[in-house]
Structures are given as structure tokens and as C-alpha cells.
């Protein structure tokens, strides 16, 4: 039985009778129209897709983390930073945003370190027996003041990120307000992730 298709039956498409110029125009218009119809939906999608790039993280305000009398000794102590947190369509009231280490210095000041390792973003643990910070992921280690112990052989490209403490408030009321910010990981320079 012969194959029964229009092509096989010899239903030839008639050869174009128009001039070359017309052919070129047809092609051009076909490409432009075809292009438009496919670009529009993709563009609409991409605009929404790239929305997070435009959005600011909104970090940088001072947040109350602890009071001075909660710091015992000169060892760094871990504190959660708790504030309202916006996650896309949800507002979580009083949600932990992250962690910081607070330390009373010999001079009586308070120093604050972001607990996030600047290497790849894990949280560092403080080891009181050795008085060092250790990252549980790739073994970066830091002194109690946040400096790298062996910068040449430390995976982390920079020391632990220090955060600003509101010194006026500290002196006036003994409350420790910290400007909580996260910084981009993996860079030698401290660049806020905003």
C-alpha cells in the first residue's frame, strides 16, 4: 500500500513567483513578528524573576541584643539577634535573624562579631577551652577577638566581621544595641550584602 500523505501524493507547493525583494521582506517580517511573540512572555517572566536583585535587604538598623550585665567574663558569648523578619509575603514578628558574639574587653567596651564565617556562611562555634572560634564546615579558626589565627592557611579570606555597637546607649543605659548586618562571603573585603 502506498504511503498516503499529501507530500507523497505530489502535492507540490508552488514555487514563489514574486521577486527576490518581496521574499527578503517576508523573511524579515516573519523573523521580527516571530521574535516579538516569543520575547514578550519571556521578558515578562524575566522581569519578575530578577525582582530579588532590585530589592534591598533592609538591614542596618540598630537592634537591642543584650544588656551589659548579661556579659560575664571576657569570653565571647553567643546571642541571637531578634527582630521582625520579612520573608516574601510573611512578616514574622520577633524572629531570630542570626547570631552575634558579644565580648567585654579589658577596657570595659563591648565588641560585637557576626557569628557567620566569612568563608562560606556557616556559623562559627566558640571553643572556651582554647578560647578560639572554630568553623564547623571548612575548619577556619579565629582568635577570641575575631582575627584569623593563621591567615596564610585559613580558608576564610578575612577576619570575622565586626559589627558596630551603639556606645552612647551602652554608657547611658547598659543596653547593647548592635547594627546587625551580613556581609558577602568569600571576599577579602567586607562588603555589606544589601
Amino acid at each position: 500500500m502506498a504511503k498516503h500523505t499529501d507530500k507523497a501524493a505530489g502535492g507540490e507547493v508552488p514555487a514563489p513567483a514574486d521577486g527576490q525583494r518581496r521574499g527578503f521582506l517576508t523573511k524579515l517580517v516573519a523573523i521580527v513578528v516571530g521574535g516579538i511573540v516569543s520575547v514578550v512572555p519571556a521578558a515578562a517572566g524575566l522581569v519578575a524573576f530578577f525582582d530579588p536583585v532590585r530589592r534591598k535587604s533592609g538591614q542596618g538598623g540598630f537592634i537591642r541584643v543584650a544588656t551589659l550585665d548579661s556579659l560575664a567574663g571576657e569570653s565571647p558569648q553567643f546571642f541571637q539577634v531578634i527582630a521582625d523578619k520579612q520573608d516574601a509575603w510573611n512578616l514574622y514578628p520577633k524572629e531570630p535573624l542570626g547570631g552575634v558574639y558579644l565580648r567585654k574587653t579589658a577596657a570595659g567596651d563591648v565588641e560585637c562579631l557576626n557569628a557567620t564565617c566569612p568563608h562560606a556562611g556557616c556559623n562559627v562555634d566558640f571553643v572556651p577551652e582554647k578560647s578560639v572560634f572554630k568553623c564547623p564546615c571548612h575548619n577556619s579558626s579565629f582568635e577570641a577577638d575575631g582575627t584569623r589565627i593563621d591567615p596564610e592557611h585559613c580558608p576564610s579570606p578575612r577576619d570575622l566581621d565586626t559589627l558596630e555597637v551603639d556606645q552612647d546607649q551602652l554608657k547611658q543605659t547598659g543596653e547593647i544595641l548592635v547594627q546587625y548586618r551580613n556581609f558577602r562571603t568569600g571576599l577579602a573585603k567586607k562588603v555589606p550584602d544589601e
Binding site: L97, A120, C122, K134, P136
Partner: protein, 622 residues
């Protein structure tokens, strides 16, 4: 009848050409006959089809958001009938796929099947490999458990170090600067939409190119040529069966080890599900899937920004570049040898790094502790989810955060453990003298206010030990003096016991409830002793509070009860407790009028106290 069927078949073929299509699909020539070494490609297609089928059904039960992802996976694993099997198949087939990819790649390189005219076939294969690895990476996050959450965070922060485009890519994939709802919606769209669509597209191209060039036969040909159907198909099918068997065995592995009486299969079979992701609680045992461990270990050798880019991006990029160049390098015999050596060196290197990573972790006490801790939490959250309150709409992470057994313990280790010893605390006080191994400071609080604890306190041999007042100023205090006094030493043992029993009953500890109920008489006489003869009320209050009370020792009214502990921890320097005799114990909630200033909220204090008293939800035993 058969004539009608024949005619019908012929008509159908005439209109669709299906005979030609089937012929094209099945009657591919296999030069030198069917062989086992040709099965790898087919097993990969099979594995992918299994992932499509199981993935589609998992999709029907999955809800990508920070409050529902873990919860819906929990439901699939523990509640849906056979859900554990579905998850297990999907999880272990994904692992099998990575192994099969490696085998397929090895077979292609060893056989030199990448050479002309099959370059494009080889390159599409490399792209498919990247897509499969992308599927693994995105799938790891979707259950939104601690392990996937923290491990994937490392992976996406590595994407951020790529020069120029890195930060944008990172932000677009994560859906913002922090992990949340949009990370899940995006990872899910990648995992279930974009990547599978790409995979299907490239797979079609890969198979088309493979068919176009024909099967690359391993020389010398051993037998006469055959057709793909049925000889090779049978071998392929047997290989697929073997793959499926291995995956099923892995899914059911714990069942073969036995010892799971009475548990539902979802509790020990299939893929693991950790505790729900909690950004506030670092998971120190975060590791990628085993087939990415070599990359994880590799990164430890690179120090600083530039080196990290080299280790995480440049070197892996160069390796992929080398693979892409294989068809050209392999044109000569020496080049082909080079390719083989390169591949095996790479695999050996990856195996060594994987071994190193595992060995290092096995020797790390902190890591092992974190793993054990994670397992405890994973089990606990299931108990809570099945408890009377179930999973609230806020999600399962809040179950653990509001669980005295979990959060109370955490609070203790953060706020109390630097001075107080507690056997169940993950953190213990640092010993003053490392050789002495004795905790410093305050009394141990293991089994606080129980009969045993109080018997120790009221025992002259123990009250001044490090477990009670030994490291505090109370060692020299009146209580110590009282216990050491001849009068107390002369007291009859049953009377001392009655005092202990009565005082301990004040705490109303859940663990001692039955004991207390059966000891009514001794408690009564003990209370009378405390209030009278024993002389406790000279310094302590005991249900006899007066106005202008000048007794300075902590009240014994409700000693060790929830209210007593809440008051004590809130403000030990309160006149009801130690007053001015308080030795170093900080005030945790000394601002009743301005709770913002308190270190611990009422809710936190409640969890801490409940934990100390062993007062938390446990399911009734069958």
C-alpha cells in the same frame, strides 16, 4: 477476524507511519552482538524515568514554602501510605544515577566512543551530567530540613564568589539575600520544571546523535551483528532490574538489620528526614551529599579569596574544559591514553578526598556530637508532630522552639551551663583545673529538687562538695554550718528522710508524682518537722509568710516548683530568695515592668524551668 485486524493495522500505519517508527526505535544494528558493556546509557534513561514517575507523585504531596515544605515531606514520610517507599526510591535512585553517570562516562572514555563523528554526542552527555548534578543539588534543599538547609547555604554562597555575575546569580537563585519562601519556590521550579525540561531536551538530542552515528562497537567484534531488539534490550532490562533491586535494598536497608519492633515503616525506612530547618539554630554537622564531599574537602585546601575562586570555580571549570576537549585530544593513540589516565586520576583523587573528608569527620568529636544532636531533634520533632497538638500552621520549627525538652535544654546550655553542671546539657562548665576535672561554680542541677538531690544537699559529707556549695560563698554560710552542726548530725535518719521527702514534694515534679502520692504520711510528718523541730523556719519561710519577714534564706514554700524556679531564676537577689546573700547568680528577668530589658522572656524562662523539672510532653506508652 485476523483479516480485519490486519486491515486495521495497515490503515493505522498508513495514517501514522507507526511501523516505521517502531522499526526505527527497535531495529538498531548492534555490531558484534549485544554486550553488557553497552547497558549503561539505558540504565541512566531508566533511572531518569523512575525519577520522573516518583518525582511526579512526590510533587502531588509537596508544598514549597518555609512553613510547609518540611511539613509536607514529613506527612509523605510518616503518614501517607507507602510514602516512605516513594521518597526512598526517589532519593536512592538519585544517588544511583550519579554512580551510573560515572560508569557511563568511564565506559565511553575507555572505549574511545567520544571520537569523531561522535563529538556532539559526547558533549551533550557532559551537559546532561551537569543537569543531573544540578538536580541533586536543588533536590537536597527541598525537604527543608537542617541538613539540606545549611549544606545548600554553603553551596549558594560559593556561587556568590564568581566574579561579576556571581552575586546576581546567587541572589536570583536564593530569591533574595536570605533563605526563605522564595528560595524554595525557586529551587522547586528548577528541580521539577527547568532542569527536567532541559534534561529531556538534551536527552532527545543525545539519543538522536547516538542513533545518527550508530553504536560505537568495542573492537574486536566477537560475534555476528544483532539488532537492538531483543538481544540488547534483554541485557538492558536485566541491568535496569539490577539497578532497581539495589535501590530497593538501600531503601529498605534498616529492615534487614532488624530490631524495629512496633515502629511504623516511615520511621526507619526510606530517605532520611532531619529536624525542620531553623535559621536560628546552627547545624554544625552540615555536609553535602556524599558525591559532593570531595569538593567540600577540596575547598579546605584553598585559603583566602583568590584561592577560593581557584578551588571552587577555576579548577572545576578547567576539569570540565578538559572533558570537552577529549574528542580532540583522543584523536591519537597517545591522546586517548592521556584521556583515560586523566579520568582515572580524577576519580582516584575524588575518592581520596571523599575518604579524607569522612575520616576527618569521624575523628571530630564536635561533629559527631552535632550529628547525634541532629538525630535526637529529628526524632523528637516527629514525636511532637504526632502529639496532641500536631503541627501548627506556623510550621514544625516552632514545635521544637516551644518544646521544653529541646529548647529548655538549649537555653540551659546557653545561659546556665557555664556555672551549673547538668548531666543532660550538651554544654558543660569548663573545669578550672583541667586535671581536676571538677566543674566550677554553682551547684549541679541534674535532678534538681528530687529526693536524691536534696539528700545530698542535707548531707554533711556532700554539701561542701563541688556538686553543691563547694565553689560558692555558701560553703562558709549558715546552711552549711547548720548541716554540719551536731544537732543535725544527731537527727534520726528517718526524720532526715521525712524532711527530704516533704521538701521534695513541694516541687511537684512530674517524675516523682507517683512516689509523692504513695508517701502521704511521711510528707505530712516531714512538713511538720520542717515547720517545727528541724529548725528550718528560723531562716526559711515555709507556708508561714509574714509581713516584714526578715528571714534571709530562700523560701521553702513550693521549693523547686515551677513558680519557685521562675521566681528564683528571674531574680535570685529578690528577698524571697537569696536576697543580699546571692553569690554571683545573674538576674535573668529583673524588670517585671519593662520586659524588653529582661535577658530571658517569660516564655523562655518557662521552657527552661520545665526542662529542669523534666516537665515535657512524652507520648503515652502502649
Amino acid at each position: 477476524m485476523s483479516k480485519i485486524l490486519q486491515n486495521l493495522g495497515a490503515w493505522f500505519d498508513d495514517r501514522t507511519g507507526w511501523r516505521g517508527f517502531v522499526h526505527e526505535a527497535l531495529y538498531e544494528r548492534v555490531p558484534g552482538g549485544a554486550r553488557w558493556r553497552y547497558v549503561w546509557g539505558s540504565t541512566l534513561v531508566f533511572a531518569f524515568v523512575v525519577q520522573l514517575i516518583t518525582g511526579l507523585f512526590l510533587w502531588m504531596g509537596y508544598s514549597p514554602s518555609a512553613q510547609t515544605a518540611w511539613e509536607s515531606v514529613y506527612y509523605m514520610q510518616h503518614e501517607v501510605q507507602g510514602g516512605w517507599l516513594l521518597r526512598g526510591l526517589h532519593h536512592f535512585m538519585a544517588q544511583a544515577m550519579v554512580v551510573l553517570l560515572a560508569l557511563h562516562l568511564m565506559q565511553v572514555v575507555i572505549d574511545g566512543a567520544y571520537r569523531a563523528p561522535r563529538e556532539f554526542n559526547f558533549w551533550t552527555g557532559l551537559i546532561l551530567m551537569q543537569i543531573v548534578l544540578g538536580l541533586s543539588l536543588t533536590g537536597y534543599l527541598l525537604p527543608w530540613d537542617q541538613k539540606g538547609y545549611w549544606a545548600t547555604k554553603v553551596a549558594t554562597s560559593l556561587a556568590g564568589i564568581v566574579p561579576v555575575a556571581g552575586p546576581t546569580v546567587q541572589r536570583v537563585v536564593v530569591g533574595g539575600t536570605t533563605y526563605g519562601h522564595q528560595t524554595l519556590t525557586r529551587f522547586f521550579a528548577l528541580h521539577a520544571g527547568v532542569l527536567p525540561a532541559l534534561l529531556i531536551g538534551f536527552l532527545v538530542l543525545h539519543v538522536y546523535l547516538f542513533r545518527r552515528a550508530g553504536l560505537h562497537a568495542k573492537r574486536p567484534l566477537k560475534r555476528a551483528d544483532t539488532m537492538f531488539w531483543p538481544d540488547q534490550v534483554l541485557k538492558d532490562a536485566v541491568a535496569c532490574l539490577a539497578v532497581l533491586a539495589v535501590v530497593l535494598v538501600l531503601t529498605c536497608l534498616p529492615a534487614f538489620k532488624g530490631g524495629h519492633g512496633g515502629e511504623a515503616p516511615g520511621e526507619y525506612l526510606g530517605a532520611e528526614l532531619g529536624a525542620p530547618a531553623d535559621p536560628a539554630n546552627q547545624y554544625s554537622a552540615a555536609r553535602p551529599e556524599w558525591y559532593f564531599l570531595f569538593l567540600f574537602q577540596f575547598l579546605k585546601f584553598f585559603h583566602g579569596e583568590t584561592q577560593e575562586i581557584v578551588g571552587a570555580i577555576v579548577i572545576p571549570g578547567l576539569v570540565m574544559g578538559m572533558f570537552a576537549l577529549m574528542p580532540f585530544i583522543g584523536r591519537s593513540k597517545a591522546g586517548h591514553w592521556f584521556n583515560c589516565v586523566f579520568l582515572f586520576a580524577l576519580l582516584a583523587g575524588a575518592a581520596t578526598l571523599t575518604g579524607l573528608a569522612i575520616r576527618e569527620d569521624r575523628g571530630k568529636e564536635d561533629y559527631l556530637k552535632a550529628v547525634a544532636e541532629a538525630e535526637t531533634q529529628a526524632e523528637r520533632v516527629v514525636v511532637l508532630a504526632r502529639g496532641p497538638q500536631g503541627i501548627p500552621p506556623t510550621g514544625a520549627a516552632s514545635l521544637l522552639r516551644n518544646d521544653a525538652k529541646t529548647e529548655g535544654r538549649r537555653l540551659f546550655s546557653r545561659w546556665c551551663a557555664s556555672c551549673h553542671e547538668h548531666a543532660d546539657s550538651p554544654v558543660h562548665p569548663a573545669p578550672t583545673d583541667p586535671q581536676a576535672q571538677t566543674p566550677t561554680g554553682a551547684p549541679k542541677l541534674t535532678a534538681f529538687a528530687t529526693r536524691e538531690w536534696l539528700s545530698g544537699l542535707l548531707n554533711p559529707a556532700h554539701i561542701d562538695s563541688a556538686e553543691y556549695f563547694g565553689e560558692t560563698t555558701h560553703k562558709e554560710g549558715e546552711m552549711s554550718g547548720f548541716v554540719h552542726d551536731q544537732k543535725w548530725a544527731d537527727a534520726e535518719a528517718p526524720d532526715v528522710e521525712r524532711v527530704v521527702v516533704a521538701l521534695s514534694a513541694e516541687a511537684k515534679l512530674p517524675l516523682q508524682r507517683e512516689l509523692d502520692e504513695s508517701d502521704d504520711d511521711r510528707i505530712k510528718t516531714g512538713r511538720a518537722l520542717i515547720a517545727g523541730e528541724a529548725g528550718c523556719t528560723d531562716c526559711h519561710r515555709f507556708h508561714d509568710e509574714k509581713e516584714d519577714d526578715d528571714r534571709t534564706a530562700p523560701t521553702l514554700t513550693g521549693y523547686g516548683s515551677r513558680a519557685w524556679l521562675l521566681g528564683m531564676i528571674s531574680n535570685p537577689s529578690d528577698s524571697l530568695y537569696y536576697g543580699s546573700n546571692n553569690d554571683r547568680m545573674p538576674t535573668f528577668a529583673g524588670h517585671p515592668d519593662n520586659p524588653e530589658l529582661n535577658q530571658l522572656s517569660k516564655h523562655q524562662l518557662g521552657l527552661l524551668v520545665d526542662w529542669l523539672r523534666g516537665d515535657w510532653y512524652e507520648p503515652a506508652e502502649d
